[in-house]
Every structure is written in C-alpha cells, then in structure tokens.
C-alpha cells in the first residue's frame, strides 16, 4: 500500500482562522458593518479619550449651561464643564465598567452553568433554584437594594483592607460586583441549557466511554459547541448591563460625580430639555447608538453561527 511513505505535508492546508474571519467580514450585511464601525469608533474614543478630548474630565472651562460654540461643540454643563470631553470620558467609564461586569458574570455564570449541566444531580438542582429566586426579582430594584447595602464594604472588612480604596472606586467596585452577580443568573441559564443539549449527544457519551475526564469533556467536547450562542449573549448582556448602569447613574446611585458617565450626564442636564436645548439628548443618543450597534452585530453573528436561513 502506498500509505507507508505518505507525505503528511502534502495534506491540503486549511484557511487559517484569520482568513476565515476576513471572509466572513467581507460578506457581512450593511447593518452589521454599521454596527461594527460604531463599536470600533466607541472603543477608540474610550481608549484615546485623554488624547482626543479638548478638555479634562472634571475641568471647569466656562459659564454653566453655556450653549454650543466653536470651542465647546456640545456646550457646557451645569458647572461649566465641556460636554464633548465628558461624553468621550463617559465612553471610557460606562463601557469599561460594563465590559468588566460582563466578563465577570460570564466567568461565574458560564462555568457554573456548564458544570451543572455536565454533572446534573443535586448541585444542578440547588444552583438552578437559587438562580430562579434571583431571577424572580426585577434587576433594577434588586440592584438598588443591594447597592444600598454596599456589599463591598463587608468584603473590605473581611480582608482587612480598610482605607485602601477611595469612596469613588468602592462605589464602582460595588456596582460591578452586584451587576455581575445579578447578570450571571441569566448567563447560567443559557450556559446550562445549551450545554445540556450538547451533553446528551452521542459524541459526549463516546468521550465518556473512552474514559476522558471532566476537563476534556467540558473544554473539548461541549464548550466549542455552545460558544456561538454564548458569544452572542455576551454582546446582548453587554448592552443590558450598560443600560442598567446608565439607569442606575441616572437615579444617582451608579457612577458618582465627578466621574463622567452618560447616564448621570442625562440626569444632570435633564431640565435643559424644557428650554428646548438638545444637550441631554447627546449622552442619551450615545447610549442608544451603542445599544443598536451591538444588537446589529450580535444579530448577524447569531444568524451566521446558528445556520438559520431566510425563508425564500
């Protein structure tokens, strides 16, 4: 047989991951391209805010409520800070916090969800019921309640870190921690359900029969199959968390001044709308645009990976 001297290098090479990604990008619909462009611009603004912004985040540059001018494109806020600069800094804070929160909630909810699906049994029952209880309380109200309890202060005391963090940082840590935990319940459900439908497939049974350990079964057999819906969910959860942060800031319990944040900026300037000034609409538009953009991209991604087809 000829296979004895077969040259493995002759085996056709596949397109690399990057090449595949590029091909996918080229075939993306206009809505997804729009979404990705918007997200890219936002991310760049967030990263390079100190370089782009003409003024500092908390810098008072003129009279309160000054209207838009050549120097201050979007006008000045209630104590005379440049709104354009604050919108740029706001991207940094709002998006950065939302991103961190979603990362934590996915690590927590995803791992527990997959673990519950693979092992099933009593642990799955306990976790699922806890999640049910959490989900039965509206997120915003629950978050308000927990924020009032300041759980991070307790953490600080346990670890003897009293006085290490400033009050502003502690508020943000509280916010991230609370939203991450609340959000992880939804991730848990999705991860558990998708993992469960994969875990009953024959190839998982085949891996078990082979004698593979839990690590292999989870990381190599299950996770690659549930990754697409999880990634899409990541995008969606990001917009939800980001909206929740904006809402909490609007209510005054989220990100504290003088840190710029779109939700609190809307809250601070909301009365201007009664004078026919468009200023509060600017941060609001920033929130809306990003949410729409993320949804466009997620939509396209889900459509691509789930193999859904338009009915023709």
């Amino acid at each position: 047989m000829t296979t004895e001297n077969v040259d493995i290098r002759s085996v056709r090479t596949r397109r690399s991951f990057m090449q595949n990604a590029w091909r996918a990008l080229k075939s993306a619909p206009p809505s997804a391209i729009f979404g990705m462009t918007v997200i890219a611009v936002y991310v760049l603004c967030a990263i390079f805010a100190p370089l782009i912004a003409p003024y500092g985040e908390a810098e008072v540059v003129g009279k309160a409520y000054a209207p838009a001018s050549a120097q201050n494109w979007f006008g000045l806020d209630q104590i005379g800070r440049d709104v354009f600069s604050r919108v740029l800094y706001g991207a940094r804070n709002t998006m950065g916090i939302a991103f961190l929160t979603v990362c934590i909630s996915f690590t927590l909810g995803g791992l527990l969800g997959i673990y519950a699906a693979v092992t099933r049994g009593i642990l799955d029952q306990v976790l699922s019921r806890i999640v049910d209880v959490f989900m039965s309380i509206p997120v915003l109200i629950f978050a308000l309640m927990l924020l009032a309890m300041r759980p991070f202060d307790a953490v600080e005391n346990w670890f003897g870190l009293h006085g290490t963090f400033s009050q502003g940082v502690k508020t943000i840590l509280n916010l991230i921690f609370i939203l991450a935990v609340l959000d992880s319940t939804r991730v848990f459900r999705l991860a558990r359900n998708t993992a469960l439908s994969v875990a009953v497939q024959d190839f998982v049974e085949a891996a078990r029969l082979r004698g593979e350990g839990l690590r292999w079964v989870v990381l190599r057999e299950i996770v690659p199959n549930i990754l697409p819906p999880l990634i899409a969910e990541f995008g969606l959860r990001f917009s939800f968390v980001f909206l929740t942060i904006a809402a909490l800031s609007f209510l005054g319990v989220g990100i504290q001044p003088p840190t710029a944040d779109w939700g609190s900026m809307v809250a601070e300037s909301k009365t201007l709308i009664t004078f026919g000034r468009p200023q509060p609409l600017i941060p609001a538009a920033a929130i809306a645009l990003l949410t729409v953009a993320v949804n466009f991209v997620v939509d396209w991604f889900l459509h691509k990976t789930s193999g859904l087809r338009d009915d023709k």
Partner: protein, 549 residues
C-alpha cells in the same frame, strides 16, 4: 369555493388521468447557490392507481411527491414544467386555491406521525379537523365517519380511541390515525411519504395492510414514497426509480421485480444478496450472564439476559424497539450498570461501572453509534476525532499520530485529504466510516455496533457492511451487531440473538435461528420482514388470519 375544488361526488372513473406532471424541474437553494433537485421528470397517475417512488436520499422522491400536490419546501422553487391535478394547473394556482385542495382532495401522510400530530389535542379533533374546515361534514357526521375509518384501519377500540392524546397510542396506531386523517375528506390523491420507515417490522405489516385496504376501498390514487423496494412492491401498481433527480427506470411492479433493466435498479437488490458464511467458535471473548438492568429501578429493561460472544465472530442482536437490545450495549459498556448478573471479558469479570474500569479495558471495547451526525463532534476535524484515541490510549503524537491517522483513513477507504475535514463536510456514509475509524484507532477486541447502518441508504449500507467485514478479516475484531433489520443480520452475522421485551428469546448460529423450528416470536419477526414479492403481504395476511381462525 369554486365547483371544481369541492370534494368530488361525481363518479370517480377508474383509469382516467388524475395527476399529470410534465418536464418538471425544481431547484433548491443551499450554500448561496441554486442547485437542481429535480431535473425534468414526467409522471402520470390515473385514478385509483398507486405509484411507488423509490430512490436513495437526495434522489428527489419527496420533492417530486410534494410537487404533485403543488407544494415546494421552503428554499425550493419550480423552474420549469407543469403539474396538473384533475385539470387544475397547480404550479400557477393561487395559495388560496391550493389550500382549498389540500386536505380535501389531496392529502399527505408524513413519515413521522408523532411529529405531525399536535400533542395538545386529542386524536379525534385532529382527524376531523380538515373535514370540518373544508365544510364537507358537520361535527357529528365527521366523528361518526372517523370512527368508521378507525374501524376500517383496524385500530383497537375504534369508538373511544379518538378521545386519546397522541402520546397515549403507539407509533403504529398513530401512523394509522394519520391515514384516517388523510382519508377524512375522501381525497382523490394521497401522498404517503415514507409512512412506515420509523416503525418496527412487526408493526409495519399491520400498517401497510391497513393502508392498502383503505386505498383500495375508496379507489384513491396514491403516491407512495419509500427507499424500501420490498415495501413498495406490496403497495404500488407501478414503480418509478429515481436518482439524482432523474428517472432511472419506470415499470409495472411485477415486471420491474422480475427483470430490472438498469444497472442501478439491479444494485438496489444487491444488499439483500450479500451473505457471510457463518463460522462456529467456542472461544468466548465476552459473556453476559443472567443480567438484569433497569432505568431508575422501576422498569426492568433487561430481564435475566445471557449472551455469549465468540472471539473474532459477529453476533447480531435483533429485536424491535423496546426489546432491550441497546440497553444490552449500555450494560456491556458500563453506562448502565446491571442490577444483577455478571459480565465477563476474556474470562475476567468486568467492573459494572464505567468509572471503575481501567483505561486498557475501555480501549478493548469500542462502540459505533447509529447516527454519525451526533456521534462525531461537529467542531472537531477528522484529525482530532481519530487522533484522540491514538493519543489517549496509545500515546501517539505529532507525525507518528498523523501517519497512523492516514493509515486508518486508508483502511476505511477514504483518502488522506479527509484529515482536515469537519463532519459537516462529509456525506452520511463517510461520517459513519470516520466513526468506524475512531473505534478501530483504539485497536479494540470488541466493537459494539448499535444500528450502524439504519440511518443510511441501501447502497451505502452495503458498502459499510462490506467494510466492516473486511476489517474483521484483517484485524480479527469481534462485533456485537445490534440491528432491527433482518437483511443486515443475514448479511453479516455468525450467530444471532433474538430479543423481545428485555428477554433473550433465542441465541444460536445463523442457520439455526433463521431456519425452522422457530420459537413463536422469532417466527413472527421473520415472517414480518417484507419480501421482494408483490404477493408477499397478501399471502402473509391470508396465512395469519387462517392461523387465527
């Protein structure tokens, strides 16, 4: 409602043309392109005639059958040709017009009745629904008529069965209820799309008999779609063999069975002729003794099962669904530890639980699944799938591993290009070959094959069976072959185990089991296997009713 779509009470003249399809071409959309599915087919169906469409999957038989009722699946379109039903042009008919016809004058019986019935409604509501919607009968008349149909279809308790929900009746009964539903408006045409494929042979006989009788009684024209020639031989007056959207051969049933003219048609017969010479052996590789097993301790799925598997031979386990044959495999592999009894392997007792077995024991017993679609991880390439057991059991890595993978690919008659493919990029037969290679990679002593060919087309089945036999010759591997298909058993086994309701009815050499004297169940099972004889069903029914009387 226009007059010509009312259920025909005008006399149904037997022999006049009902459906005429001319030069039909249908394209399907996939991978961003339009592909031809039907490449110009003609079909003429007379009133009261049953035509059989036969072919492998992808031959276009379902698409053609649906086109005869003026329907194309989403993603398909008719690009040329005409479909005429009783003088009505179905290709250009409006949706409303078609909806009036469907259910009242043309009806459809799908492959899976359990998926076609709404689980939330009782059978009676669903069976009478189309008659009521089309205004053919009022509620009382429709129900009385449904009961009459249930009786004609020989459903048990015809007066009360309509009050049950779909999950409360068996698969065979549900399939007959679906036929009753199709019959409720006394249509001119019924399309049967693989109606018995999902049923056991013993149930299939009853359903086939019921369908045939009712079609004859009401002088209904029918299109019977199937991949099983023996079944179509019982049902159809005329057979059309399709392949890749083209007509291969068309003839009267008897003429075609006697003398098929085309090579392809002949090849459809071939699998039934594949036969291995049995060999006897007393060297037992694995023995199962007095094993009981149950799920969650309630229902005994295995009841005192004793099976002996001789080394290097093929033992076929046959039985209908629910007979416990797959559970036997689960008990042997340790997925379902038996509650009683012993399983010994090479003379030593196997630990009951999978977790207690060492890696080398696991290596020696491998398994191949029915559906390669779910048995292969869609996110792994062939290199990962076949390479993993090599790495896991034999510690091979890098170039050495790749070389062995290519060798295995060669053994399963695939070329080395497949090494980087994903399961989604292969055909069903190729995927099943990869499953075989994965099992072989472990260099096992026993391979448990659980219905490995039942999801495949006849010709592909034959190739897989030949491959398995070739591999057995080369590697001396032992097979425990679980199947419900007697033709497959005949083809490959040395010994046969017949199971029924969790018990072993019989174990013995192939020649002993397949020849009289039979235990009662074996006889029922063997006599229910459709034969390539158009009179088989008639003869069988006469024999059975004679025996009962």
């Amino acid at each position: 409602m226009t007059s010509d779509v009312k259920p025909a009470d005008k006399s149904r003249v037997k022999g006049s043309t009902l459906v005429e399809i001319k030069g039909l071409k249908i394209d399907g959309y996939s991978d961003d392109k339009w592909h031809p599915i039907i490449k110009g087919l003609d079909l003429t169906l007379k009133r009261g005639e049953v035509i059989g469409l036969i072919g492998e999957s992808g031959a276009g038989k379902s698409t053609l059958g649906l086109a005869a009722m003026g329907y194309t699946k989403p993603g398909c379109k008719i690009t040329a040709g005409s479909v005429t039903f009783d003088g009505i042009d179905l290709v250009n008919a409006s949706q409303d017009r078609l909806r009036e016809l469907w259910g009242s004058r043309i009806s459809y019986v799908a492959q899976s009745a359990s998926a076609s019935f709404n689980p939330a409604h009782k059978l009676m509501e669903q069976v009478t629904e189309s008659a009521l919607n089309h205004g053919v009968m009022d509620k009382a008349a429709a129900e009385a008529d449904a009961k009459d149909l249930f009786k004609r279809l020989q459903l048990p308790n015809p007066d009360t069965i309509g009050g049950r929900y779909p999950h409360q009746v068996s698969g065979g009964q549900l399939q007959r209820a679906m036929t009753a539903m199709a019959m409720s408006c006394r249509p001119d045409l019924i399309i049967f799309d693989e109606p018995t494929t999902a049923l056991d042979v013993t149930t299939q006989v009853e359903v086939l008999a019921a369908m045939r009788r009712i079609v004859e009684e009401f002088n209904t024209a029918a299109i019977y779609i199937t991949h099983d020639l023996a079944v179509v031989a019982q049902m159809a007056h005329r057979i059309m063999v399709l392949r890749y959207g083209n007509l291969v051969e068309e003839a009267e049933t008897r003429a075609m069975l006697k003398a098929p003219t085309q090579d392809y048609t002949k090849s459809l017969w071939a699998v039934r002729k594949l036969e291995k010479k049995e060999e006897k052996s007393d060297d037992i590789a694995l023995s199962v003794s007095n094993v009981d097993a149950s799920y969650s301790g309630v229902v005994k799925v295995l009841d005192n099962v004793t099976v002996r598997i001789p080394r290097g031979k093929t033992v076929a386990v046959v039985g209908e669904s629910g007979s416990g044959k797959s559970t036997l495999a689960r008990a042997i592999t340790g997925l379902l530890p038996p509650s009683k009894g012993r399983i010994s392997f090479n003379g030593k007792d196997l630990p009951a639980r999978l977790q207690d077995r060492d890696r080398d024991t696991l290596r020696r017993i491998q398994m191949i699944y029915q559906s390669a679609d779910t048995a292969l991880n869609p996110r792994q390439t062939v290199r990962d799938i076949i390479g993993r057991p090599l790495e896991f059991y034999l510690g091979l890595t890098g170039a050495e591993k790749d070389r062995r993978i290519v060798k295995l690919l060669d053994a399963i008659e695939l070329n080395e290009d497949f090494i980087d493919r994903y399961p989604g990029e292969m055909s069903g037969g190729q995927k099943q070959r990869i499953s075989i290679a994965r099992a072989l990679a472990a260099e096992p002593e026993i391979i448990i094959c659980d219905e490995v060919t039942s999801a495949l087309d006849q010709i592909v089945q034959e190739e897989i069976l030949k491959l398995l036999m070739k591999l057995q010759k080369e590697t001396k591997v032992t097979y425990l072959f679980i199947t419900h298909d007697i033709a497959t058993v005949r083809a490959i086994s040395d010994e046969i185990v017949v199971m029924y309701k969790g018990k072993v009815v019989q174990q013995g050499l192939k020649s002993d089991v397949l020849n009289p004297p039979y235990p009662a169940y074996t006889e029922l099972l063997l006599s229910s296997v459709p034969q390539m004889d158009p009179d088989w069903l008639t003869t069988l029914l006469r024999k059975r009713s004679g025996a009962a009387a």
